[in-house]
């Protein structure tokens, strides 16, 4: 059946496209923050902090347009659920970027101090979280509730990696108390990644809501 709301549909498409752009900016911020932490590249850490402003600005711009569309187009049913999901998803994305910025700030706090061990599990947490983020947004675009639920289950893997990082850093701290400060910083960085994966789970819940109209918690994080 031919649609009679082509302008409205165009507005919704543009909003979705911009949400994907925001998602990609956030994905890249997470990757850069962990990479800079691993390589001890303070300049790159500073860039992540500076570029967080662009992410904030993009989020506000999308939110304002969503409000404008709600006010002028009076969306209902799946359109309303979609717009509500967008507002919620961009908030989670923006907070993920804040976690990436947090990791960059931790990197600056570590400064020139040597790391107590090479980073292996923290980059793995980063890889899994980023993969979850990208696939949660794919599920949103494809209105794939089952796909979103599957992505949310992977939060358990990130929690397990966080456990591993915690145990390992605790052992290092017990063995050599002089590492406590830097090891604690690394624990904070890992915690930021754990929170990022939790926020991906929120996005997955919004995808399920957009598709089915049901609000449900689909995976409760251990933390």
């Amino acid at each position: 059946m031919a649609s009679i709301r082509t302008h409205f549909e165009q507005q919704l498409r543009e909003l979705q496209d911009d949400t994907l752009v925001l998602g990609s900016m956030v994905d890249s911020a997470i990757a850069s923050a962990v990479d800079a932490l691993k390589r001890r590249d303070l300049e790159a850490s500073n860039r992540v902090i500076d570029e967080d402003n662009l992410i904030d600005r993009k989020r506000w711009e999308i939110e304002q347009r969503s409000i404008m569309i709600i006010a002028t187009q009076q969306p209902t049913a799946s359109d309303l659920r979609f717009l509500y999901a967008i507002a919620s998803i961009i908030t989670d994305l923006e907070r993920m970027a804040d976690h990436a910025e947090g990791i960059a700030k931790i990197s600056l706090m570590i400064g020139d101090n040597p790391l107590p061990k090479p980073l292996i599990d923290i980059p793995r947490m980063c890889d899994v979280s980023r993969s979850m983020l990208r696939r949660s947004l794919d599920a949103f675009v494809n209105r794939d509730a089952e796909g979103a639920k599957a992505v949310a289950q992977e939060d358990d893997l990130v929690d397990a990696l966080y456990d591993q990082v915690y145990r390992e850093l605790l052992t290092i701290m017990i063995e050599n108390p002089r590492t406590i400060t830097i090891a604690t910083y690394l624990l904070w960085a890992a915690h930021n990644l754990e929170r990022i994966a939790d926020r991906v789970t929120n996005i997955c819940e919004r995808v399920v809501y957009t598709v089915t109209g049901r609000m449900e918690e689909i995976n409760v994080s251990k933390y």
């Binding site: 209902t76 799946s78 359109d79």
Partner: protein
């Protein structure tokens, strides 16, 4: 009361009033006033309603929505037998008011219309005084009480009293459109109906008068059962407790597609056809 106590009270009342399951119960368990059973209607050979079955709950507002020609006004008019006045109308099935079939032999359509008042699209006060507009039907129905009291009570319930109390002998036609429509509502309730049918009651009114009528409808629903036909979906979403979506397609004319709580129909309709209509994708 401590902060903890008041928070606990608040949480308790919030969960009691806002959980979706509580809401569904209220519709499912509501007392039914009008029960339409497998009802079909023809205008001569042209079928206008097909096997409509629907229960309207007491003291709630139900909006009938759907594109032109879907049968919503026909259904509304069938409920107080207004279609009887049209030549060649034939019906099948039943419409029960409080359990009694209004199409049964021996039922007086005038008595049906007293119990089920109607407000039309264009305000249609009689060309008489405001006071006479209210008393006309009451007198015909043998009202023996105090006329002044009845006039005041009906005008107050229709939220018109304060605007006309010093001018009750003025012609009803001298009022503004919104006031005329409220006068028609006052006239409808003067004969003590159980149900008020409203056929596009605000389509001829400006936005402020429309909001006044909608506020009035919410007030009236405490005492009456209201069925409203509207093309304005925002109005249906603002004012109605329940929404019924009707449709005609190539095969079936005047069928009920979906019926449910307004919050559900406007956020998560069950039928794709409802979704297409309320989101404006109907082409």
């Amino acid at each position: 009361m401590t902060v903890q106590d008041s928070t606990a009270t608040l949480l308790k009342s919030t969960s009691a009033h806002h959980s979706p399951s509580t809401y569904y119960h209220s519709m499912a368990e509501a007392d039914t006033v009008i029960s339409v059973r497998n009802f079909s209607l023809w205008y001569s050979k042209k079928r206008a309603l097909t096997n409509v079955t629907i229960d309207f709950p007491r003291n709630q507002i139900t909006a009938l929505i759907g594109p032109s020609g879907c049968g919503k006004s026909t259904l509304l008019r069938a409920i107080n037998r207004m279609n009887d006045l049209i030549k060649g109308v034939r019906t099948e099935g039943n419409i029960l008011i409080d359990g009694n079939d209004i199409y049964a032999k021996g039922v007086d359509p005038v008595e049906v219309r007293r119990r089920i008042g109607m407000v039309f699209q264009k305000p249609n006060p009689f060309p008489r005084s405001i006071r006479e507009n209210i008393l006309f039907g009451a007198k015909i129905n043998g009202y023996k009480g105090d006329y002044d009291q009845l006039v005041e009570e009906c005008l107050r319930r229709a939220a018109l009293w304060d605007e006309v109390k010093d001018d009750l002998n003025k012609s009803g036609l001298a009022l503004s459109g919104g006031q005329q429509q409220r006068l028609c509502i006052a006239r409808a309730i003067a004969v003590a109906p159980e149900v008020i049918l409203m056929d596009e009651p605000c389509s001829a009114l400006d936005p402020i008068s429309t909001l006044r009528i909608e506020e009035l409808m919410r007030d009236l629903a405490k005492q009456y059962t209201i069925l409203v036909v509207t093309h304005n979906m925002q109005q249906a979403s603002r004012v109605a407790d329940n929404v019924a979506f009707m449709l005609s397609d190539d095969v079936t004319t005047g069928m009920l597609v979906e019926y449910g709580p307004t919050s559900e129909v406007f956020t998560n309709p069950k039928s794709k056809r409802t979704e297409d209509y309320i989101t404006g994708r109907f082409g």
